[in-house]
């Protein structure tokens, strides 16, 4: 365990209606075993002691699965490590004396709520527009009634692994939500259970995505590179095909 001293440049913004700015903090009682969020916990306890308001940031599971944590660390959503959420990032990847700039996700469809916290309810609304199979409780056939080839189940799972964190939007130069949206569409359109609503679903979800004010996809691949679950951009390709076919069919 090595001691660490850092300079943190953090975006502070009291609420969505006020403007924000960067504040700089020196933190020295740190060590390399801490997770990135524990490092911020230390900063926050220092701030409380100094009678200042702590830095607000979203987090819950701290295991890389709930998708709540969300910060851009030195220009990279969830920081420098591949396939890692902010909560799983550890301080051993930083050096003593480093300056770290921490910003919230930036997108029109993710307005800042406070400091590093943003409002991602646009994602919920996209799911509400059609990210489900319409099956009422109790009306399901036996789980083994429809066999699903293992490879299809695995491919659907790869898409379903999305944690809805929004790093794809944050990393995309167009603030496009295509990776998130296409992952959900593909999960359901790959599985037999998702077939009946396949066409309607993709139309509605794409329409909602556009309406929320996300940008369009220019295939830079930044989303896939920054996605903590390494979701493949191939789902975007699939979404494009599904979307066009569903519209051509009418």
């Amino acid at each position: 365990m090595t001691d660490l001293q850092l300079t943190l440049n953090i975006w502070r913004q009291r609420s969505s209606s006020e403007s924000g700015k960067f504040e700089s903090y020196e933190v020295d009682n740190l060590n390399t075993h801490m997770s990135f969020l524990e490092m911020l916990d230390v900063l926050n306890e220092n701030l409380v002691e100094e009678n200042k308001e702590p830095v607000a940031f979203d987090h819950d599971c701290r295991e890389g699965i709930c998708g709540m944590c969300s910060m851009v660390i030195n220009g990279r959503p969830h920081g420098p490590m591949k396939g890692t959420t902010t909560c799983q990032l550890h301080m051993r990847h930083f050096k003593n004396g480093d300056t770290i700039t921490i910003e919230p996700w930036r997108a029109k469809a993710f307005p800042v709520v406070k400091d590093l916290v943003v409002d991602r309810s646009s994602f919920d609304r996209i799911i509400q527009s059609g990210g489900y199979v319409s099956v009422n409780t109790g009306s399901a056939p036996d789980g083994n009634a429809i066999p699903i080839p293992k490879s299809i189940a695995e491919e659907a799972f790869d898409a379903a692994a999305c944690i809805g964190c929004g790093a794809c939007v944050a990393s995309c130069k167009n603030a496009s939500a295509s990776l998130f949206v296409s992952a959900k569409i593909s999960q359901l359109s790959l599985l037999p259970q998702g077939q009946p609503e396949k066409n309607e679903r993709v139309k509605k979800m794409v329409a909602q995505m556009d309406e929320e004010g996300f940008g369009h996809c220019t295939n830079t691949g930044a989303c896939q590179a920054e996605c903590p679950k390494e979701i493949s951009v191939d789902y975007i390709r699939k979404m494009n095909v599904d979307y066009n076919l569903s519209n051509i069919k009418g």
């Binding site: 220009g75 700039t101 996809c217 930044a222 390709r237």
Partner: protein
């Protein structure tokens, strides 16, 4: 609820199709230009005859209209989308490390494209405009007929080092634009199937390199020849 035609995906498809069409156009255009490598009167004659054919044949006319339309569509759509995407992030990042997760060319398509637009205008002014509306010199053929001497216009244009340099730079821009563009368009229209990803990438990158490189080799050749 049908907003297909106003959806980002549809617009994106059109941008991709027009971009791909322009890429094919470039291939054809390139084939014509290669005739400039033939030297002497023989080359001059062949090139000028080709130019005449290209400006008069009705099928080619139709194709050229399609090309203009594609350029227009491509420019309008891509710039509109780029503008909309800028709006999707009203406040930018203080620290940006875009190039650690994506290629430089993919992040600068609009700048590259705008440069290409500038090139297209200059290029059209020098050759297309001259050919159609300018005071063209004539080549007198053996059979006594005369045709517009685009060959002379072209070869003399590349006597100018600045003009040649501009052309070469534009081809570099084109190479970068196509480096991302071709692969991206294939992905957009849904053909970048995972199983073929490697060969497709290979083809796309070759196209992106070969077209502009061959284009650029002509003025270099002409310039050096005229030294």
């Amino acid at each position: 609820m049908n907003n297909y035609f106003t959806s980002t995906i549809f617009r994106k498809i059109l941008a991709a199709l027009s971009g791909l069409f322009l890429t094919f156009f470039l291939l054809g255009h390139l084939a014509g230009n290669l005739q400039l490598f033939i030297s002497g009167v023989e080359g001059q004659t062949q090139f000028n005859k080709y130019a005449l054919f290209m400006t008069t044949n009705p099928v080619v006319k139709l194709l050229s209209i399609l090309t203009y339309a594609s350029i227009l569509l491509h420019v309008v759509l891509t710039l509109y989308l780029a503008f909309k995407s800028r709006q999707a992030r009203p406040i930018g990042y203080a620290v940006s490390s875009g190039n650690s997760n994506s290629s430089w060319s993919s992040n600068n398509m609009a700048i590259l494209g705008t440069f290409l637009l500038l090139f297209i205008i200059v290029h059209m002014r020098s050759f297309w405009y001259e050919m159609h509306f300018g005071e063209m010199p004539y080549q007198y053929l053996d059979d006594g007929t005369k045709i517009k001497d685009l060959y002379l216009i072209t070869t003399s244009a590349f006597n100018n080092p600045l003009y040649t340099l501009f052309y070469i730079l534009s081809m570099i821009a084109l190479a970068l634009h196509l480096k991302h563009g071709v692969g991206s368009a294939v992905q957009t229209i849904g053909l970048k199937l995972p199983n073929y990803e490697k060969p497709l990438k290979y083809i796309a990158e070759s196209v992106a390199l070969i077209i502009p490189a061959t284009f650029a080799s002509i003025p270099i050749y002409l310039y050096i020849k005229n030294l």
